[in-house]
Symmetry: C2
Subunit: 344 residues, 2 copies
């Protein structure tokens, strides 16, 4: 490729104005998407600004601050000092925004890995962080938040948010399943069926209409961020999903809910990323089953789900789902199976 | 992060079936998107299958073969032997597909960088490749196709496709421009205006309705892939866009068209990725101007555009656009400016 570079930089006839060169920022588009996700950003704003009593004169640590929006909310809420840490060069932009909005004396931005940088405080009163990934834990920063908690949070200090739950339910999703799986049976006349196994192993991050949900939901895991240990993020759970109508189950949809602490129950902000809730950029996560299950209202589907960080790359997830469906009565049907998924 | 790995792999209670572990494939979703882009894939199929006379008993080199679809089209068209090269591990899947569809003796898959691997032929009759990126050249593989041409293509051999053109026109796009640029003036009450410069410098890859096009189009560049040199991909061109109605110009839309060779003009397949054509996964590329120009039907906008590979990463592009608009008569207006963009 060096030829390209050479030819371009040597070509003096190209009328480029070097002084107008901007550097690019990591994941600029991602920051735009996250800011524009009002469920996300307004939940953080409400959680912080509705609890000014908790923030007044406090030292706050913002883990993975991005463009600095949460730090500015904390400063608005009366924090004495906010320390905001991020590894990405987006923090250069955060510094401009903080200065422009008059928070230079309230917010100190530190670029680096939290585990490596030196902070101006040995202890902080509050940790704020938007660490959640797809399926809550995929490529999430929760490990860094827990490290911050264990190394910097004052005894009795607060974490925003401090509770996360994950949920799962059965869905009817025949048409889309077909476009994602059956598609490979005939690709321009060729048999691409080896791709079906790969497609089945990849959970889909996509939106699911609430009307597609055909069972009750089960809780995969409840995470108390004040106390959870890193090893608890590899979890295993069993639960029963009950059909809410006669329908067909093609797969499972998973989502997460987030809670913030508050001065009292009325001030505890909460949001959900479920199919029943408003769109968020996290969407939902869909796991197709090997079986297609015909289920009648009131019948039960037993599910077990195991989740663990991948052994090679712990920011990726390995997920195993087992299902067991037996319907007695006139029309005996039984299905059971196990399927492995990965979020890469 | 090693704690996560350790806890998960040590945790024997997690019921994982190791034998069900699949490896992940690079960019699996991208291959799905490309295959499902029927304008793209059917154009290649038509170009190859409508020209069986050109392929019969020929040795074909597929540069960046992905899942092997173009190689199988070439084999169907009667090629003696297809050599298909790709750096990605997707080639393992291509091998399965080729075997499953009975092309094992016609298609030889080689994993590696074309410049490094040893091929079973010193010369090939035909090169096929789908190398095009956004804005034609962003992260494109054209440099590898040209290397293949210069090192392997027989004198008089054919390249599919062998011609590409790039085009640009003025668009009315006030609402979207506002959501991408003006948005930063007030982000949850904060002044994020430093992001406007960054947003302006990033061309948008997105679909543009043909009804948004308010000028004639100009040709940025015509590339004859049989003869083009790598250094020609840094190009500079001037042209005049004429307003086709009274309207406002917020930016420019760029797209590319692709031509394949054929036994005669009737068999030369062509497709466009312009706003007037059917959707493709390349969409179009939008450049917002610093100015918003009120223009009357028949008035002219002079544009010059320079494009070159970035000096640090030649798969990225630096683009400079100058505009010059003067309208005489009752309502004299003049605007001119220069803006630098980068595709990162």
């Amino acid at each position: 490729m060096s030829d390209v570079t050479k030819s371009a930089t040597d070509k003096e006839s190209l009328p480029f104005s070097e002084q107008h060169y901007f550097s690019s920022y990591d994941h600029f588009g991602i920051h735009e998407e996250m800011l524009k996700d009002e469920v996300r950003t307004l939940s953080y704003r409400n959680a912080i600004l509705k609890n000014k009593d908790l923030f007044r004169d406090k030292v706050v640590l913002d883990v993975g601050c991005g463009t600095g929006i949460l730090s500015m909310f904390a400063a608005q809420a009366g924090a004495k000092h906010v320390i905001a840490v991020d590894m990405s060069n987006i923090i250069e932009m955060a510094q401009k925004i903080v200065d422009l909005n008059g928070f230079s004396d309230k917010i100190t931005l530190v670029r680096g890995k939290l585990e490596d940088v030196v902070l101006p405080y040995k202890e902080v009163d509050i940790i704020i962080s938007e660490w959640m990934g797809y399926f809550l834990l995929y490529e999430s920063m929760l490990d860094t938040v827990l490290w911050a908690r264990d190394h910097y949070l004052k005894k009795g200090g607060l974490i925003f948010p401090d509770r996360a739950t994950m949920h799962i339910a059965g869905i009817e999703d025949g048409e889309y399943r077909s476009s994602k799986l059956d598609y490979w049976e005939n690709v321009y006349g060729f048999d691409y069926s080896p791709f079906i196994e790969i497609a089945k192993a990849e959970p889909l991050v996509d939106t699911v209409e609430n009307s597609a949900v055909v069972t009750t939901s089960g809780t995969l895991v409840e995470i108390d961020i004040n106390t959870v240990k890193l090893e608890d993020l590899a979890f295993f759970n069993k639960f029963t999903l009950k059909a809410i109508r006669d329908d067909t189950i093609h797969g499972l949809v998973a989502w997460f809910d987030i809670w913030f602490p508050g001065t009292d129950a009325k001030h505890e902000v909460y949001f959900s990323t479920g199919p029943h809730a408003k769109y968020t950029h996290w969407k939902q996560t869909v796991f197709y089953l090997d079986d297609i299950l015909d289920i009648k209202r009131g019948e039960s589907l037993e599910i077990s789900l195991a989740n663990r960080p991948n052994a090679v790359n712990p920011r990726e997830l390995d997920i195993e789902i087992k299902w067991d469906f037996k319907a007695d009565g006139d029309n005996y049907r039984a299905h059971q199976g196990t399927h492995n998924y990965f979020l890469r």
